[in-house]
Amino acid sequence: MSDLSAQSVSTWLKDFAEVINEQANYLTDLDRQIGDADHGSNMSRGMSAVAALDPASFTDASGMLKKAGMTLVSTVGGASGPLYGTFFLRLGTTFTSDGELSAADLARGMKAGLDGIIARGKASPGDKTLVDTLTPAVAAAQQAADEGRSLAEALQAASKAADQGRDSTVDMIAKRGRASYLGERSKGHQDPGATSMALLIDSAARCLA
């Protein structure tokens, strides 16, 4: 299903919503340790609203993605609402035409999403945020595209890199978000947003390939 459409986007979003619901307690628990114990419930509230969107009411993937982004902005709150919302809004403005989705398209879309997140949240890699998951994932997708590999291969590479990026947050000292208030004490804990972002890329690898 490497075809881009409201339907394929919906499949992805519904899968992600399911994963988030399953992992909500785990994500909240990560946030309990270095944040305020709500990342799981935040994401789950937002993705449940997104999963309720009917793909039939959108003419194309772009419309569906933008609406998903706006829905997250309007229902999540906290740091993750604007950040995840921006990510999907940017995907929507990048994927303007339905049909075949190439590895290069994927890399371009993800890069736009990452740029949006950085513009909104001003985090750099190493700050212990979801940027640490997304940055290597974008790089891996881009490399796969540059090497002429398939969308499926690019998604696999991105997903693997995302997981590594997520793991890399464990040893970091937080500089953005709520965990930054802990200073040194944030070390040794995996960042909740980096964790949910890895789940999103994994879900994409399952659903969009």
Partner: protein
């Protein structure tokens, strides 16, 4: 988890139903958007003051809506910042032609959601929107490379003082100058004896031993920077005051002080701590001119307290003393 609620996901709305029922004459509650407004809005020619944030800090912010303080409070889920739609609804409701001021506590989520709202409100309806970031928690290191300090207790004083200034008819730019003065001269520090239970998490955010306190606690159950043994109230007073006085010189000018309960600490203990703090301050040459003791910015049922000091020149004292009529703070009318 033992709470007087119906369902976790309905807490904020259900509580706002109670706010509406308790204050039918003075407040109007937009239940759809979870926004609490004064009964009569907008006020022609007055800058509209909009604040908000995660719920669970009551009376802040919904309890500070009324004459001489806020025009609207946007109530997020418990400990989660509100979404831009809420602020946009509030902006529209309170704009009386003189622009709107957002009072935002410095948390990433709050900042981003208020920013998005300001951009969209300005774009959609052409309202001039400015914002004030409150960042007073000396427990958090402030540097170029971090997000800066958290906004905590000073928010209450900021809302009171800006509310009075707006009521007097000062314009947006004048309010921003007052806000800058409050931010420059205001500092807070808090400590906790227990954690709190975020309803969606269902269990305490952190665990403290029977003789431990958490120093530099935030208002969301975020762990602080350090654990210490619980000693006497006299010692606790030092632990509260010392980091604040180390950060800023509070001598030479009158000071407004707030000894704030975090929710689960009884008033008898709050006054007791205030007695000790006032001795510490007097010993350091700090002259307290106004005092507020009580639960003003809370963390659900967390036990503990925080101290806020604000250097107040004549104008700030005048604005502090001005009449205010809200469920959470009332005097002079």
């Amino acid at each position: 988890m033992k709470k007087l609620i119906n369902a976790v996901e309905d807490i904020v709305k259900d509580s706002l139903v109670g706010v509406a029922a308790a204050h039918p004459d003075s407040l109007r509650v937009d239940l759809e958007n979870a926004v609490v407004l004064r009964a009569e809005e907008p006020h022609e020619g007055k800058v509209g003051l909009v604040s908000g944030g995660g719920s669970g800090h009551e009376p802040m912010h919904s309890g500070y809506v009324g004459y001489g303080m806020l025009d609207a409070a946007c109530c997020g889920q418990v400990f989660t910042s509100p979404v831009p739609d809420q602020m946009m609804a509030a902006d529209k409701a309170v704009d009386g032609g003189a622009g709107v001021l957002h009072i935002v506590k410095n948390y990433t989520g709050d900042v981003m959601n208020f920013d998005m709202a300001a951009e969209m409100s300005a774009a959609e309806s052409g309202i001039r929107i400015e914002s004030v970031l409150v960042a007073d928690d000396v427990a958090v290191q402030d540097s170029l490379y971090t997000v800066g300090r958290r906004g905590v207790g000073l928010t209450v004083l900021m809302e009171k003082i800006l509310g009075a200034a707006a009521e007097e008819g000062r314009d947006l730019d004048a309010l921003l100058r007052v806000a800058a003065k409050v931010n420059e001269g205001g500092r807070s520090f808090g400590l906790a004896l227990t954690s709190c239970v975020v309803p969606a998490a269902g269990r305490p955010t952190f665990e403290l031993a029977d003789d431990e306190i958490e120093l530099g606690i935030g208002i969301h159950g975020e762990p602080g920077r350090q654990r210490a043994k619980l000693s006497t109230a006299a010692e606790v007073a030092e632990q509260l005051a010392e980091p604040i006085l180390a950060d800023l010189d509070f001598t030479g000018e009158p000071v407004i002080a707030m000894l704030n309960g975090l929710g689960g600490t009884p008033l008898i203990e709050q006054y007791l701590v205030w007695g000790e703090v006032s001795k510490v301050l007097a010993g350091k040459g700090v002259q307290v001119s106004r005092t507020l003791v009580g639960n003003h910015i809370t963390s659900l049922e967390m036990a503990g307290c925080s101290l806020t000091l604000l250097k107040a020149d004549g104008d700030l004292l005048h604005l502090w003393d001005a009449p205010v009529n809200t469920p959470g703070l009332r005097w002079g009318c």
